[in-house]
Amino acid sequence: MSSEVEKGAVSQTKSKLWVDILIFVGFLVTMEPGLSRLTIHEWLSLSMIMGMLVHLLINWDWIIEITRRFLGRLGGQTRINYILNWLLFIDGTLLMVSGLMISEVAMPALGLKFQIGDGWSKLHDLSANTVLILLGLHTALHWNWIVSTVMRYIINPISRVIFRSKQTDGVL
């Protein structure tokens, strides 16, 4: 029973890691609309809503736990982390909504075109830069988890495979 629970925790951590890596790579690609082309930029950004949704669902228990305990006794770093996550959510929403408003490819393809002023474009740029900073802070606060998980599930297995193949070469 306990090994099953352990297996579940391991697979959840693994899926968390891969979802986060995908979101990070997607974010880096979408941050350069001039180079990834507007079509890729807009559709990839829309698909990242799914990524964010999965990220939130995986971390749901933590969100509920901290929301309940927020006004009670809670560590300083956890409190900062929680507030930062909310800021990231709000800013991400601003980024997404302003992006939908100024969309030239995705929204017209869905039959929607908004009459908008210059302000949405400026808001889109501002919220994108703010997301970059907030994401940097988010990464910094989770740095220990990132390093240990990448070591455990990516670096160590790869180095084990390399070491094993070297050993078998030595035997042969």
Partner: protein
């Protein structure tokens, strides 16, 4: 069922923030128009096809296809800039934190030695 309700909660929160933003924008722009700070939305009417022709010619004038190596170089540079900004923030937070942790550990060991 549990997952569906959670997805709905997230989408509701998303919709709430988006709604507040759009309402704020509409109110602010209506206020600015009524105060005469900006012009109201204009409806431009033109011959069908005239607009398209203009767009096509301007596109031909301004758009030139850059080479692939130039695009890759620019992409690497600008993505590197974004990663650098994040890395600076990570170092600025993680390094002092680990330093403080090490100092705490050392002072604890010193106290144990005494």
């Amino acid at each position: 069922m549990k997952i569906v309700s959670r997805v709905l909660i997230v989408l509701l929160a998303f919709g709430l923030v988006a709604g507040i933003l759009i309402a704020f924008d509409s109110a602010a722009s209506a206020l600015a128009v009524s105060a005469g700070l900006i012009d109201g939305p204009r409806v431009e009417q033109s011959e069908p096809g005239q607009n398209q022709e203009q767009e096509d010619t301007s596109e031909n004038e301004t758009r030139s296809t850059p080479s692939i190596t130039y695009m890759i170089k620019r992409w690497v540079l600008s993505t590197g800039k974004n990663v650098f900004v994040m890395a600076v923030l990570v170092v600025a937070i993680v390094f002092p934190k680990s330093l403080a942790k090490r100092n705490r550990k050392m002072s604890h060991q010193k106290n144990l030695g005494k």
